[in-house]
């Protein structure tokens, strides 16, 4: 899978916010924010042509002290969320 084009991660009001770059309107009443961990993952996979949940787990283990199975579960959850929000495509 890959991150869809046209989404930029920006720091807005101290939050990591996904800003749809192509849209003429910025909707502050409906914004997607990422916590620092999710933002770290996003930053590292957004440019990639392809990534897997395993890539995300590897990134987490590199940066955070976390059990692999917990990391895997979290990454799956995040991917599910991102898919639901239309941020990820196959």
């Amino acid at each position: 899978m890959k991150i869809k084009e046209g989404f930029e991660l920006q720091n807005v009001c101290g939050e990591h916010i996904i800003v749809p770059a192509g849209e003429d309107n910025m909707d502050f009443s409906h914004i997607i924010s990422l916590n620092p961990t999710a933002a770290y993952l996003w930053e590292n996979i957004a440019g990639r042509a392809e990534f897997t949940v395993e890539d995300m787990v590897a990134l987490l283990l590199e940066e955070y002290e976390v059990e692999e199975d917990i990391a895997l579960e979290d990454c799956r959850l995040i991917v599910e969320c991102w898919k639901e929000m239309g941020l990820v495509e196959k």
Partner: protein
Amino acid sequence: MTGNIREIQVENHLLMQEITRMFNTNGKESVTITVRGYSMRPFLDDRRDKVILTPPRTPRIGDVVLARIADKRYALHRVIKKEGERYIMRGDGNPLYMKESFAEEDIIGMAHTFIRKGKPYEATGLVWRCYSFTWRLLKPFRRILLGIYRRLP
């Protein structure tokens, strides 16, 4: 660590900076924000409604404008008159003795569309203009009408 949806409350003046940045740096044509407060009742209500803003321009009487009215204080109200270089505005739902003044450079954005109960009404559209006209006519009864509105279920 999840990507759950949650509501973010940001300090007003930070949001205002971001709106300005979206217009100036990100080249956005409009910005949507959630209405906070009750001062634009009966049309707009706290958190239920939204407003789509476009970049600042010279206001006309009757325009609804989001502007800085004091240090770190902002209001989205209706322009009622011009006094010299300053504009006077008042919330539709505010008592008649309440008003705010601002200069053109204090404008954050112009209300372009009002989203009331999920339905959009353009500021230049018939519904909004009829509402504005009627609300102005009803000015002497405003206090009573707003009192009734507050008691509605």
